[in-house]
Structure formats: structure tokens, C-alpha cells
């Protein structure tokens, strides 16, 4: 074959290669362009508009939405409660991660019935959230729930209450639900990370006879730090997205005490059709959320990790 023929072949194959790449990426990129980028731009545009409740007409209102949003956030409206509760979910997620690491580490150490626990703890990850929240509501039911039943059995009638129906306990009860239902997922993630630690890592410590806590902090945690830091970061930005749990458990109530930023957004869109304000708060929360997330990411990236 002559030299020219060969390069002709190459050109043809290069075209085919490019066609292949374009075809493979076409749909994902189109989808991302519409549902990622276009919607994001729309959100920014929406935040400068207002919808007339009667005619449904859109009007440009400049920065009015932002002014009102600031007023509501400072003055203390439902949005402010939602914002505070969303921020509270950041430490809640960290507690969840800490608990899950402890559970994973303990279960990885020849703990009796470890595989039984691992299987059971995973249930909430695979079961429908509609069923799970329903079951949880029933457990906290004022008269028929097991929680009040147990309290009565222990002679603690004073502690019985309508857990999801009272202002002071509704939001804590939502948090407890998130911990109760969340450990299994993280537990499996950290179990996977623990299994990838080479055995040699433990050997030096074993010879020196170090304690459980020493080993945890000087061997185990550094080795799985990449996984931990990923979940710390995702848990931070995820705090701003929480709304299904309060929606299904309390619908944000009573009197919006257990609402979250994302739930208020959800209700502003689907309940009130208040697209302008929803978009404005969406932008504000996204900015705050990203700032917090990137600060946490920077702090987390500074920690030295063990390479393996």
C-alpha cells in the first residue's frame, strides 16, 4: 500500500473516530445543556420577575425580589426558619457521618453478628421513603405509637407527647428520622473504604500494641480520609437540598417550625406558583450553599491523607 493510501485511511478513520465521539456525547450534552445550563439561566432570569396571581403574566421587577428576600431573611419569616434549619442539617450530616464511621469500624472488627447488622442497617437505603416516613410517623403516633407506648411502660408518662405535632419536637424528630434512616447508606460506603485498606497498614500498630482509639485516629481515619472528605463535602451541599423528609413527615409544620429552605421552595413553586420569589431564594441559597461548601472543601483538602 502506498504512503498516500495509508494517510487517506488514517483521515477516514479519524473522521469515523470523531463521529463516534460526537454520537456518544450528543444526548448527554444536549440533556445537560437543557436541564443543567438552560434551567439555571432561566432561574436567574426568573429571580428578576414577578408573576401576576390573577393573569399569570410575568413582569420584570428588577431587584425587588432580592430586596424582599433580604427583608424576609432578616426580619424572620418562614424562609428564615427554612434557612436556619437547612444550615442545621450541615452538623446533622456530620454527626451522621461520624456515627456511620464508628458503626463501620466496629462492624469490621470480628463483631458478633456483624453481617446481620450490616444487612439490616441497609434496609432504609433500599426501601421507599414514603413507606419509611409512614412507619416512623406511626412509631411516634401520640396514642398508638411504640415510642409513647414504651415511655408509658417505663412510667415516664410526662415525657409522652405528640412528637411530630408540637413546635419544640417536630424538627428534632425530623432530624432523628434522618439519622435513623441514614446510617445504613454511609455505613456501607465506609465499609467499602475500610476493606480497601491494605492489611500491612495495621501491622506496625499491632506489634506496638496500640489501643483502639489510637489505631482509629492514626491508622484507620487517615487511610479512609478520601472517602470521608468526599462525604463531608457532599453532606455540606446536600444540607441545602433536604426537603423530602420534612415534606413527608410534618409537611414543614406545625406552623413552618420544621421546614427547610428547599421545602419552602418546593411549596412556593407547587403550592403558590410564586416562581419569581422561589427562584430568588433558590439563587440566594445556591450562593450561600456553594460558598459554605467550597470553604469546607478547602478546609478538608488541607488535611494530609495517606496514599495507598
Amino acid at each position: 500500500m502506498s504512503e498516500g493510501g495509508k494517510s487517506g485511511f488514517r483521515n477516514k478513520s479519524k473522521v469515523q473516530r470523531n463521529i463516534f465521539i460526537v454520537v456518544m456525547l450528543a444526548w448527554p450534552l444536549l440533556y445537560f445543556a437543557v436541564f443543567g445550563i438552560y434551567l439555571q439561566i432561566q432561574t436567574v432570569l426568573f429571580s428578576f420577575q414577578r408573576w401576576n396571581y390573577v393573569s399569570g403574566k410575568q413582569v420584570w421587577v428588577g431587584l425587588d425580589n432580592y430586596r424582599q428576600a433580604m427583608k424576609e431573611l432578616i426580619g424572620g419569616s418562614y424562609w428564615r426558619t427554612g434557612m436556619t434549619n437547612a444550615l442545621l442539617f450541615i452538623p446533622v450530616n456530620y454527626v451522621l457521618i461520624t456515627l456511620s464511621i464508628l458503626v463501620a469500624v466496629i462492624l469490621s472488627r470480628k463483631f458478633p453478628f456483624a453481617s446481620f447488622y450490616r444487612i439490616v442497617y441497609f434496609f432504609p437505603t433500599i426501601l421507599s421513603i414514603v413507606v419509611l416516613t409512614m412507619v416512623y410517623q406511626f412509631s411516634l403516633h401520640p396514642t398508638n405509637g411504640i415510642v409513647n407506648g414504651l415511655l408509658g411502660f417505663l412510667g415516664l408518662e410526662d415525657w409522652q407527647r405528640s412528637w411530630l405535632g408540637e413546635r419544640q419536637t417536630a424538627f428534632p424528630a425530623v432530624i432523628v428520622y434522618c439519622l435513623w434512616a441514614g446510617i445504613g447508606f454511609y455505613n456501607v460506603m465506609f465499609t467499602g473504604a475500610l476493606q480497601r485498606i491494605p492489611i500491612e497498614y495495621y501491622e506496625v500498630g499491632k506489634l506496638e500494641g496500640i489501643t483502639f482509639w489510637k489505631e482509629l485516629f492514626s491508622v484507620v481515619l487517615p487511610a479512609i480520609w478520601p472517602t470521608i472528605s468526599t462525604f463531608i463535602i457532599l453532606g455540606t451541599s446536600g444540607a441545602f437540598l433536604v426537603y423530602l423528609q420534612p415534606l413527608l413527615l410534618t409537611n414543614g409544620g406545625p406552623n413552618h417550625s420544621s421546614t427547610t429552605a428547599a421545602l419552602e421552595m418546593f411549596q412556593a413553586v407547587l403550592g403558590a406558583g410564586n416562581y419569581g420569589m422561589a427562584a430568588t431564594f433558590g439563587i440566594i441559597f445556591a450562593v450561600i450553599g456553594s460558598l459554605v461548601t467550597f470553604l469546607v472543601k478547602r478546609a478538608v483538602d488541607r488535611v494530609d491523607t495517606a496514599d495507598y
Binding site: 450534552l29 437543557v34 434551567l39 439490616v120 434496609f123 421507599s128 413553586v269 407547587l270
Partner: protein
């Protein structure tokens, strides 16, 4: 002295083990018990249920399950969910596999950009897009199951990143051998590389299958025709209805019907499923 200290340490150690065992058992029971309770009560008639929610049923009302399936339309929702889950799992996995493969195995301009974009978009809590999304779907006439199915074709995201690391682990030599035999790029992808990535695909598919079966939000917003509800949406409306109708025993039966397929998949695929959540070793 040394011996005394050591026995003390051992005893304290075993005391700790008991405490931990109790805590772990308590948590496990708190997860199992509600479902057992629900099952027991799903076999009572409503009178027995209201008389005592703790007692065992005196007559076993299996007809509650027939009622849930027929009259509460759970059977209909079940079948809707079956086909949507089957098709949705396939489209989700394939639309993630296509970009994952080219980005893992081909060098081209913009590939790092797409990768960074997908990571970046995971870090930004973009909740504000709900309104524009709602209006877009309404204007496109996608307030039905097709709108929901469209949502299962988003390729760029978490699944893509996991599958990328899978494709990276497959040697390119297999592809080269096929190229020499005269296969084209598509042929190599579909009949050589895709089968080789099977473990990763199965893992992702199992996780996706359960996620779609349980998916509640998009179907709840988009599906307006009660005949087309998925099981998650159907259950939600059934829960709402019971707040007034108070036919809880049928509701419990309906919930068990919804749980059963997931539990069966879990029983058979437990290892694969848990691997599915840990494949690729998620790192920062």
C-alpha cells in the same frame, strides 16, 4: 499487679462489648420492628386494629391484600412501576455508559471540561431550578409518564463518573484486537467493551432499579392521571386518603406489596447491590 490490671482491662473490654451489642441490636430492632408490626396489622380487620394495635389478629384477613391490589388500585400502580423501572433502568445505565466510555478511553478536546462540569454541578445545591423546570415540563406537554422517563436519561453525573473508572480499568488491547479485525468504533463499544464492563453495569443497574422503583418526587409532580401513578405516588395518595378514610389495614397491605419486590431483589442481589454502592471507590 500487671495481671490484675490486665484482667480488669479485659473485663472492661467485654463489658463494652455487651453495651455495644445491645446498642447495635436495639438499632436493628428499631428498623425491623415497624415492618413486622405493619405486617401483623395488615392481616387484621379494621375493628381488631382499632381495638388494639399491639395484639395479634384473631382472624387472619388475607383479603386485605386482595383489596389493596384491586380496590386500592395498587395492582395497577405496581404494573406501571414495573415497566417504568425496567425501561428507566436501561436508559439510565446506557446514557451514563456512553459518555463514560468515550471520556475514559478517547482523548478529545473538552473531555476534562465535561468531567469538571459534572463534579462542579454536584457541589452546587441548585434548588432554584424547580420552578423553571416545572414550567418547562408543562410547556413541553410532559406532565405524564414520558416526562418522568425523560428524567431517567440524564447521562452526565454520578453514574457516569463511577462507570468511567470502570472503563479505565479495562485494557485497551481488547479494543485494538477488534480494530485489527476490522470492527468499527461502535462495534468495539457494543460487542467488546460493554460486555467487559458488565460487573460495573450490573452494580449500577441494581442500584438504579431500586431507586426508580422507590422514586417518588418526579412521578408525584409530573403524573397527573391517576391511572398512570407509580407505586410510590399511589402509596402517597393512599396514605393521604387514610387520614380520612382510616382503612389502615388495607394501607399496610399495600405497603407490603410495594416493599416485597425490593426485599426479594435485596435477598438475591445483596452482595451486588452493596458492591454497587461502593464500586469505583468514591474519592474526592
Amino acid at each position: 499487679m500487671e495481671l490484675v490490671r490486665r484482667t480488669y482491662a479485659v473485663r472492661r473490654h467485654s463489658a463494652w462489648k455487651w453495651v455495644l451489642q445491645l446498642l447495635f441490636l436495639g438499632y436493628a430492632l428499631s428498623l425491623i420492628y415497624p415492618f413486622v408490626w405493619m405486617f401483623i396489622n395488615s392481616l387484621k380487620n379494621n375493628r381488631a386494629f382499632y381495638k388494639s394495635v399491639w395484639a395479634l389478629p384473631n382472624t387472619w384477613e388475607w383479603s386485605n391484600y386482595a383489596n389493596a391490589w384491586q380496590e386500592a388500585h395498587i395492582g395497577q400502580y405496581f404494573l406501571n412501576s414495573v415497566w417504568m423501572t425496567a425501561v428507566g433502568t436501561f436508559t439510565t445505565v446506557m446514557s451514563a455508559a456512553l459518555p463514560a466510555y468515550v471520556m475514559a478511553k478517547y482523548k478529545f478536546r473538552g473531555s476534562t471540561f465535561i468531567y469538571n462540569l459534572s463534579i462542579f454541578s454536584m457541589l452546587i445545591p441548585a434548588i432554584g431550578t424547580l420552578g423553571p423546570w416545572y414550567l418547562l415540563m408543562r410547556n413541553l406537554g410532559l406532565f405524564n409518564e414520558w416526562g418522568v422517563m425523560l428524567g431517567y436519561t440524564a447521562g452526565i453525573g454520578f453514574n457516569m463518573i463511577v462507570l468511567m473508572s470502570f472503563f479505565k480499568g479495562i485494557s485497551w488491547e481488547y479494543a485494538e484486537a477488534a480494530f485489527i479485525d476490522g470492527a468499527g468504533h461502535f462495534r468495539v463499544f457494543f460487542s467488546v467493551m460493554l460486555p467487559l464492563a458488565r460487573p460495573g453495569l450490573v452494580a449500577i443497574a441494581t442500584v438504579t432499579m431500586i431507586a426508580i422503583w422507590n422514586d417518588y418526587l418526579n412521578p408525584y409532580i409530573l403524573i397527573q392521571d391517576p391511572k398512570r401513578y407509580t407505586i410510590g405516588v399511589g402509596l402517597f395518595y393512599l396514605v393521604e386518603k387514610q387520614k380520612y378514610a382510616s382503612d389502615f389495614t388495607t394501607l399496610f397491605a399495600a405497603m407490603w406489596i410495594a416493599l416485597l419486590p425490593v426485599l426479594i431483589v435485596y435477598a438475591f442481589m445483596q452482595e451486588k447491590l452493596i458492591n454497587g454502592f461502593t464500586v469505583g471507590g468514591i474519592k474526592g
